[in-house]
Assembly symmetry: C2
Homo-oligomer: 340 residues x 2
DNA sequence: CTGAAAGCGCTTACAG
DNA sequence: CTGAAAGCGCTTACAG
């Protein structure tokens, strides 16, 4: 059987209060007593029961994280990174995946509530914009410390990359290479910022946006991004859209796009330049290797964890909702060359 | 503030015992009383506190899972799959990543113990064979219900794919295409079974294994599989090894290998046939698309969850350690063609 | 400095 | 069928 604080107290010949004081590093305990207790703990290989502690502290040392899927390197890497950082701080991460299933939304909220998590990290729910906002609001109204990777709501503190600025940088780069017919394939799942950056850059270069070259997406799922990229690109080409460069709102879409272009007999980058977004590990390994924008995953994770733990551990410090925007880096590889 | 069972009892004008009976679906409660209580629960939006329940039931409804990393599609998909299946059964998944850091091993064990998880799923620890075995044994000796995806120990119940048989199938296939100089790049992280399957197939075809064509690996990490594949392949070629086909123990190694071959001026599949293992989503998207073996992820997850929950929920049913081996499917794509 | 006692929010015999 | 009481394993005032 598992030993309890009583067993340790008996073993060390002290009261359970003293054992508790030792465990919690209270300085009142005399050195001798402390050592006696330590030996007993060691001997019995005693570990305090979290459930019992939780009852009193009202703290579970558990953080919930809502993520659309783990079968996607970007979210997996982010979740793994956060898990390790939290572990170092003595917290445990509870990951909930929605897999784009709207039914999961309320189950998820229940789990978070009954588990009494100390805080929640919303990566993205991937349940469609309306559902994402709805559930975020439930969470906000619940009053639990929250950090998001997307500012769905003004009351939310969010951490994200400078998607708009880096998208502008991508398009600036393409224009610098001589491209002027630049297509864009986005997805509602990656937000509107990239498309805005794309449009802004064109505007600043006085290139009118051609709506026939722009796909904003609406129903694609996280599992099928590459297929989505393939289909959109193929449709664009078969519809006779004229473009020499293509900016995709993530790397999987870009990879699908390249596949589609090659299947239609075109070569990337010789015939079409393609740029992705995220810099997943495959971006460097794909052929051609992908020009893309690197997500600052470690910084995002670190920043989110820092903000969340500060809110939890120092509730006296007033908290103002804010958006933390991290710079991103354009990574130039082989998938995009100069315009012919 | 959060409501407790007392608030519900007061609201419904009954005792807390009755509320508890309603919550736990005990049939003793009179219909009228039950409905009264239900209304009170609904009205207060009451959710029972898990920590308090855990204290009594000695059950946390939490399963721990130890996985080397989440930044890798295979493990991410497996973890996500398991999480969803457990959620449906009312359990919560606690994912711990080791990121190949041996220091994490004991922290991980502590977390699992103090959280009082009801069971543990060991995907793979990725801490090197010795550490993996050591920590698995600690877990076994602890006596907690356990399921593993690798039979490290006879006392362990494991679920895995038929890696040896499917590797034989791969090599049989290559031989059928006319290849006889077949190289192999493995990794200790993917186990010895694939190499054994490779050797068995050669043997059965009376082709002597050429040790110069075999790389077993020893220190590579999960994060750098593709780099490892690249380096090994390059070295193989520069050392003048003669081979027309290459079997890699996972898809990332295979992708790195293809990159290396192309960089050395060779074409896949025209000059060399390459086969991977796992069938990650990129296998179908890579160029050339990868011939590989599909891991039965959903079946592995389902089987592991089923076995684990049965052990937890029906402790009276005697449990015999066993290894459940699932068949795998060879997926033929473009990366391997006939020998010239 | 140490210990006896109350209490966290539940469940479970046991009385009635 | 319902309720009063004990107890799960801890922490925290409070006495001494």
């Amino acid at each position: 059987m598992k030993y309890t604080i009583k067993d340790v107290a008996k073993e060390a010949n002290v009261s359970i209060a003293t054992v508790s004081n030792v465990i919690n590093g209270k300085s009142v305990v005399k050195k001798d007593t402390r050592e006696k207790v330590m030996r007993a703990i060691e001997k019995l290989n005693y570990i305090p029961d979290q459930a019992a502690r939780t009852m009193i502290n009202r703290r579970t040392n558990t953080i919930g994280m809502v993520v659309p899927t783990l079968s996607n390197e970007f979210w997996g890497a982010l979740a793994g990174n956060i898990q390790r950082q939290l572990m170092k701080k003595g917290y445990t991460l509870l990951i909930l995946t929605t897999e784009s299933d709207p039914m999961v939304g309320s189950v998820m909220l229940n789990t978070l509530r009954e588990r009494n998590v100390d805080g929640v990290i919303i990566a993205s729910l991937g349940l469609g914009r309306d559902n994402d906002i709805k559930y975020s609001q439930d969470l906000i109204e619940w009053g639990i410390p929250l950090v998001s990777f997307h500012p769905f709501d003004k009351r939310l503190t969010a951490v994200w990359g400078d998607y708009m600025a880096s998208s502008m940088e991508v398009v600036d780069h393409l224009i610098g290479l001589g491209h002027s017919r630049i297509a864009y394939i986005g997805s509602f799942l990656s937000g509107i910022e990239r498309e805005l950056g794309y449009r802004n850059s064109l505007m600043l270069h006085k290139i009118p946006a051609d709506e026939r070259l722009i796909v904003s997406g609406q129903n694609e799922s996280f599992e099928l991004f590459s297929q989505y990229g393939y289909d959109c690109t193929r449709k664009l080409c078969l519809d006779g859209a004229e473009f020499s460069a293509l900016f995709c709102s993530n790397d999987l879409i870009a990879i699908g796009a390249i596949k589609a272009l090659e299947d239609l007999g075109m070569n990337v980058p010789a015939d079409k330049a393609v740029v992705g977004f995220d810099d997943i590990s495959m971006a460097a390994l794909y052929r051609p290797s992908l020009t893309t924008v690197r997500q600052p995953i470690a910084e995002m994770a670190g920043s989110a964890v820092h903000i969340l733990l500060e809110r939890i551990e120092r509730p006296d410090v007033p908290h103002f909702p804010r958006t933390v925007t991290l710079p991103m880096k354009l990574v130039i590889r082989q998938s995009c060359g100069a315009s012919k």
